[in-house]
Symmetry: C2
């Protein structure tokens, strides 16, 4: 009923407007009303934030639609539903960090420089992409039940392990690193030190009464990670 009214009044106003542009404007790059890519990207970005901040269960579909400034129906149109959207966010997050990492090219540096580069990159990436850590956090809270669905996740990570492995081998030959280190353990240690500080800094700041979000504290912790990793690798 109310729709009939709306429809009518709308088609009327359109008739009126139809005359307008013909008179007033040229075909300039007006922001396109209908843009599938823009819309779906906006949804994904908004969903990433919402899921990272509130977790899977705490995230609200309506809140995502509002953040993206799109109609909720579009979210279902492009992604199917909350679950599928979450999976898209999850995969997108891993693809993003692994792509950035792949641009590092550690093999053209000395082992020590390469390792430092990897640590610094990881630390900076975590720092600049808080939503990545948030997504990991909520995904792990659910024991990775959604990540397991994703087939192409493993192949995304083998290059990383190979890269670190090469770095370690070269470091042993050069006498910079001790032998027998597990590349996965090394990566996990780097990630652990970086991730824990950033994700837990809110409770840590409270319990130790020390503002860990200050730049000086953040910089100091970045240095600390390097020291710890190099101490561990020292022959």
């Amino acid at each position: 009923m109310s729709e009939a009214k709306t429809a009518k009044s709308r088609s009327k106003s359109v008739d009126v407007e139809a005359a307008d542009p013909a008179v007033s404007s040229a075909p300039v790059e007006r922001p396109r009303l209908r843009d599938a890519e823009r819309t779906s990207k906006a949804i994904l970005a908004a969903a990433t934030k919402e899921f990272a901040e509130r977790g899977y269960g705490g995230a609200r579909v309506d809140a995502i639609a509002e953040r993206a400034k799109i109609n909720k129906r579009m979210l279902y149109h492009y992604f199917g539903g909350k679950d599928a959207l979450y999976v898209a966010v999850l995969e997108g997050s891993y693809v993003a960090i692994r792509s950035a990492e792949a641009r590092l090219d550690l093999s053209h540096r000395s082992p020590s420089e390469g390792m430092r580069e990897l640590v610094v990159f990881t630390w900076k990436y975590f720092l600049d992409h808080p939503e990545f850590l948030g997504i990991l956090s909520t995904e792990n809270m659910q024991k990775a039940r959604f990540l397991k669905r994703s087939a192409r996740i493993f192949e995304l990570h083998s290059p990383l392990v190979a890269e670190i492995s090469g770095l370690l081998d070269r470091g042993v030959v050069a006498g910079d690193f001790r032998s027998g280190c597990d590349p996965v353990k090394i990566y996990m240690s780097i990630a652990a030190l970086g991730s824990f500080f950033l994700t837990n800094r809110w409770t840590l700041s409270t319990i130790f009464q020390r503002n860990l979000s200050e730049k000086s504290e953040i910089d100091a912790w970045g240095e600390h990670i390097i020291e710890v990793i190099f101490a561990y690798l020292r022959p």
Copy 2:
């Protein structure tokens, strides 16, 4: 509600049980039907699990009531609401770990032994109390907004820092540790390595195709933490 059936069978079984202790035992700890302490403890335990597993936003009050096998009304009676219950869970979690820690008495050991003891304790505590890490995770996702409300949290932690500080000083004097280490950084490193492995093992297992929940992997990581910390402390 579907609980009607349960309730009926419950009051029956309690009637039966009520006779039992009278015959068998002194007027001690028979399972009282109306037991404020038991009920509120059951609620707190159930809430801890629910919040740890699903996060603050994902936790459901009805689910907590069901887990605790109590009527939802009791939850409001004892705790006031979801928020207040969550705060109780949060405080309880910190009190529990700090109390256990306080029983360590590190000062009667050699610095190296004391440090090893602290690392092993922390690792084991995290391992045995997964809900603690879950609570921290969801609390940090909310930037510690509830923890900040808790006044008595800081004083709970200063003894820990003092204890580590003493350990480090003695270690420097004994020539076991290098000087200039920050006790808070040391503790955070221990916690980081332990916490990250356990909370993130689900996604890590998936991306590295390696079952990190296996005992051998868990034990190996425990050893790894010790190695990393001692490498860092080495003069």
